[in-house]
Amino acid sequence: MRTFHFGTALPVIPEDMRAAFPLAVLLVAAACATSDEATPAPSTPSGPTRAELEAVDPATDPEPAPMPRALTDATLRLSAIDADEGEDGRGALVAAPDPIALDVERDAGWPGRAEDPSLHVGGLRFERYAFPAVTTLRFVAADQGALPMDAPVELHWGDDADATVALGTLSEARP
């Protein structure tokens, strides 16, 4: 008997599906992408702060020191000085007929700050200063004869009234 044969059985996976095998874990693969490049440090609950950085840096002292409210340990001293010019106490630098140094002494020295110091002698104001020594803040008056010897003397920094230092009177400071 003649027999008709029709085809041969072949299980087929469509071409466009083959690429899906084996199926990759998507999107999360990055979780391990770098895991072998470095050993992760232990997890910490929060990141570092500048304070923590400075706390481990021995070159930095994290503990601030408060600035004294007023430099109460300063003293006023009048000293003869050889100077051609001095202040008139009214804002001018003038020729000095009888100059005198108004030295404010402080053994601990004088801090520098943004505002400049000024020496108020009664109604006069001396603003030009120098530090001939670390312990000495010097103003030069052009004419000591024009100074109110019994007027209160105060040291100011700018307009900062809180930083005023009372220095007595010139009479008290006279050697």
Partner: protein, 897 residues
């Protein structure tokens, strides 16, 4: 001999026999037709039948058949004439009939067909009998010629199980029944490559000689009893890395033994956060369905934003520690962050460290190489979420110079050019912009290197003049900032002004000192010079110089533009200046540069925050470059310099000490803010970050690095159309646009300037004092049809006053209303765009302006039909519930970008 030949021969033979006896003398039926085998001849002429008698022939007649009537002749036709197995071309057929004359006379019979070629079919035959006398009788009969008969008989339907996409099936050949005809070999239309699943009709066909082919059909039924196999992922976790990311189930696949492409469907198109049971179904051509289920856990951990290099430190071993900060990422499943480093923006990435979900900073303790890139990856447990954009960092190197006997204009002695240099280790990747940093006035002598107290001395060089002391490293105190800046891609130089310290003012001299350093760097960058030789030749970009100064240094840097206008340096262009807690001895007004100023709210030294004056003066110019001022609550004057360790706020002279944020927080803030300032003002086309523009809160990353939530109050101005600064002619009734202002419903509406605005008003700026006690007062500034299309915001500066009207107030909330020329109005509450706190924590706070910027987008959202191309007025209206009593100062109304 074929069946067909046999049929024809038989038929023709029979006809010839009949026709041979055609004398007509008798009415015998004559030769009939032997239809042959397979022909249903029927009752026709069958003269050749084995018994010799006609089967359907007319009976013989004689005169006896005549009636007694008057007929002369009788005739009898066959009932029918059947010819079987005729070929398609036809067969000759002759009919006969019996007849008799009633007088027994001769009779002639003629019939039709009479040897005619008849094709298979039916027709009518007729015979006529005639006597000699001419009498006739006739009869008719049907003639049926049937075709040759060949038939195929197919095998019975077959059912079999599939063996693949197609199935091999063996079918028996059909049976050929060729009773009268000759058939050829049958063929089939069955599929040569096998039968698909389902029912397939197979048609067999065999040719027939001389005739139409014959055919039959049978059915092949291939069955598929097995469902497809679906292959899907094992249970897995996916992470959504950004809010708008659509996650779909990973692809599955299906196979079926017999269907090459079963239909694959999934019951879940998009995945939601949490557990998802995803079922894939595959249905084959037989309708059988297989499934596969994947459990997918979806986590949300979005990519961090705002990644910045917030700090860098050059370590003692020469390595660079880098701290990266970022903004908190969204995503409810985030559990932490990972800091990663790569040699290039595209990777490959190396994980450096991981930190918790609340962290906003992480550091790389030892950055290697010259240039590295960092990114932050949000973590969701063991899984990686989104990754941030990368930020570049440069490994650091240190250098310095100490040039003696240098002449500096206006300085009456030869002095030192001393610089602490921090720069990217890899200078070949430059040129890098130059940043000069200048400390402030401070003692230059200390007893020991680590002593907290510094003392004044008068020096002409960098050193303390008293040999009993060591020199205070004032310049080194800003090295931390120089390092952070350098790691961002600058050559940063902290210069010493120790020789300028402890003298009256000396702001101009400091500015000249800065110029001298710029000139020195112009030399280093071009021809080179001691002590560096050619190290920096071509590596420093002096066309984009930034200056930073602290205290008197902050004032001095603001003076540099004027100094350079008077004495330019070839190739040197200062583009950005930042003053920290500056003094204001000499009234400089920086122009043609970006200018920023930082005001430490608890400043115990520059207690009146004089930087406001420099900033205010810088606003006088129609200069589109950024102007910014930031009030930093809780900061003192000194702690921005690591060597200035005494708290100028003392035991609370400006602020309660508990309000102070501390040195590390101040320095952390400065690193973040100054870095952002440089990034927004030095590169060509740069735009300051939103928080610098007063458009956004302080970045979390900067807060985190500072270690405390920073309270920063910004003012900002750049490109703008000045509506009113309360200083123009006709003020306050007429504004800068020449349009009318109107103030109605106020308890007080008074224009003021400087001290007239109040004893705690530090600004050199005109303003309106606006006090109200109910009634919803309005300040209206006419815009006269101004085109707002090119502007982004309505901007103004405002501060809540020290006033009894503000007793108990924490903040001010009011409405800003924009009206177009057609009268359409859009209102936005200030609380929707920013916070305007009432003053700031301080023993005796100043009234420091902050900027309120209302985006046009907010107005348009409130009133979509608002015509921004023709604006009528901008109003400030105090009618928000809870804020119906108060007092503010208001100025600098503008349309701004």
């Amino acid at each position: 001999m074929s069946a067909r030949d046999l049929l024809l021969a038989t038929l023709l033979g029979a006809l010839a026999l009949g026709c041979g006896d055609d004398d007509g003398s008798t009415a015998d039926a004559g030769p009939g037709v032997d239809a042959g085998p397979g022909i249903d001849a029927g009752p026709g002429i069958d003269a050749g039948s084995p018994d010799g008698g006609p089967t359907d022939a007319a009976p013989p007649l004689d005169a006896a058949a005549c009636d007694e009537g008057d007929e002369a002749v009788v005739i009898a036709c066959p009932d029918e004439l059947v010819v079987d197995c005729a070929p398609a071309a036809g067969v000759e057929v002759a009919a006969t009939a019996s007849a008799a004359a009633c007088d027994d006379g001769p009779v002639t019979v003629t019939c039709t067909p009479d040897g005619d070629l008849l094709a298979p079919g039916e027709s009518e035959g007729r015979c006529v009998a005639r006597t000699e006398a001419g009498d006739e009788a006739s009869c008719t009969f049907p003639v049926r010629v049937t075709a040759a008969a060949v038939a195929l008989t197919c095998p019975d339907a077959i059912t079999t199980a599939c063996a693949g996409p197609t199935t091999e099936v063996s079918l028996d050949a059909p049976a050929v029944m060729d009773a009268c005809g000759v058939a050829g070999s049958p063929s089939s239309d069955g599929p040569a490559d096998g039968f698909p699943v389902g029912e397939t009709e197979v048609r067999f066909e065999a040719p027939v000689e001389g005739g139409d082919p014959v055919a039959c059909t049978t059915l092949v039924r291939v069955t598929d009893e097995d469902a497809p196999t679906v292959m899907c992922e094992d249970d897995l976790t996916l992470v959504r890395t950004r809010p708008d990311e659509v996650l779909t189930p990973p692809e599955a696949a299906a196979t079926d033994a017999c269907d090459p492409a079963p239909t694959l469907e999934v019951d879940t198109e998009t995945l939601a956060r949490g557990a998802n049971e995803v079922t894939w179904s595959a249905t084959d051509s037989a309708g059988r369905t297989g499934t596969c289920v994947t459990s997918i856990d979806v986590l949300e951990a979005y990519a961090p934003t705002g990644v910045r290099l917030v700090s860098a430190t050059l370590r003692g071993d020469g390595s660079t520690r880098v701290t990266i900060a970022w903004e908190g990422a969204g995503g409810a499943d985030r559990t932490g962050y990972a800091l990663e480093r790569a040699p290039a923006p595209g990777g490959p990435w190396t994980r450096i460290t991981t930190v918790g979900r609340n962290a906003r900073t992480a550091n790389d303790p030892r950055m290697d190489g010259g240039e590295r890139h960092y990114r932050v990856v949000t973590l969701a447990g063991a899984w990686d979420g989104g990754a941030s954009e990368s930020v570049r960092a440069y490994a650091l190197d240190a250098a310095g110079y100490d040039l003696r006997g240098e002449s500096v204009p206006t300085v009456p002695f030869a002095t030192t050019l001393y610089g602490v240099v921090r720069h990217p280790r890899d200078l070949s990747a430059g040129p890098y912009p130059l940043v000069l940093l200048l400390h402030g006035n401070h003692g230059i002598c200390r007893r020991t290197p680590t002593d907290d107290e510094d003392f004044c001395g008068t020096s002409q060089d960098h050193e303390c003049p008293d040999g009993r002391f060591v020199t205070t490293p004032n310049a080194e105190g800003l090295a931390y900032l120089a390092e952070t800046v350098a790691a961002q891609g600058y050559v940063a130089v902290s210069i010493s002004a120790n020789a300028m310290n402890c003298r009256n003012g000396w702001i101009g001299e400091r500015a000249q000192l800065l110029r001298a350093h710029l000139a020195q760097w112009a030399e280093y960058a071009t021809s080179g010079g001691a002590p560096f030789g050619g190290t920096f030749r071509g590596r420093v970009d002096l066309s984009r110089v930034a200056l930073f100064g602290h205290s008197r240094g902050g004032e001095a840097v603001a003076a540099v533009p004027a100094v350079l206008r008077d004495a330019p340096l070839v190739g040197v262009n200062v583009t950005s200046i930042f003053s920290l807690a500056p003094t204001d001895f000499d009234g400089y007004a920086p122009r043609d540069v970006a200018y920023g100023v930082l005001l430490p709210a608890c400043d115990g030294d520059v207690r009146f925050l004089n930087g406001t004056d420099i900033h205010d003066r810088s606003l006088a110019f129609d200069d589109p470059r950024p102007r910014a001022q930031v009030l930093f609550a809780g900061a003192n004057h000194n702690f921005f310099n690591t060597e200035w360790r005494i708290d100028d706020n003392g035991d609370g002279r400006s602020c309660d000490v508990s309000l102070e944020v501390g040195g590390p927080a101040q320095r952390g803030m400065l690193e973040g803010v100054f870095g952002a300032w440089l990034a927004g003002t030095v590169p060509t086309g740069a735009l300051p970050e939103a928080f610098v523009r007063a458009d956004a809160p302080t970045p979390e990353g900067i807060d985190a690095w500072a270690g405390t939530p920073l309270d920063l109050r910004w003012t900002y101005a750049a490109e703008r159309l000045r509506v009113d600064d309360l200083e123009g002619p006709g003020t306050p009734g007429t504004n800068r646009l020449g349009e009318a202002n109107a103030f109605s419903g106020w308890s007080t509406a008074e224009r003021c300037f400087d001290n007239a605005c109040g004893s705690r008003y530090p600004h050199e700026r005109g303003a309106m004092i606006l006090s109200w006690d109910g009634g919803g007062p309005v300040a209206s500034f006419g815009l006269g049809g101004a085109d707002g299309s090119g502007w982004d915001t309505v901007s103004m500066r405002v501060v809540s006053r020290r006033s009894v009207f503000n007793s108990g107030a924490d903040e001010q909330v009011f409405r800003v209303i924009l009206e177009d020329a057609a009268g359409r109005r859009a209102a936005v509450r200030t609380s929707d765009v920013t916070t305007v706190p009432h003053l700031y924590p301080h023993n005796d706070p100043l009234e420091i302006f902050q900027t309120v910027r209302v985006p046009f987008a907010s107005f348009l959202a409130a009133t979509p039909g608002l015509d921004r191309s023709r604006l009528g007025a901008v109003e400030v209206r105090m009618d928000v519930g809870g804020y119906r009593r108060g007092s503010v100062l208001l100025t600098d109304v503008a349309l701004a970008n």
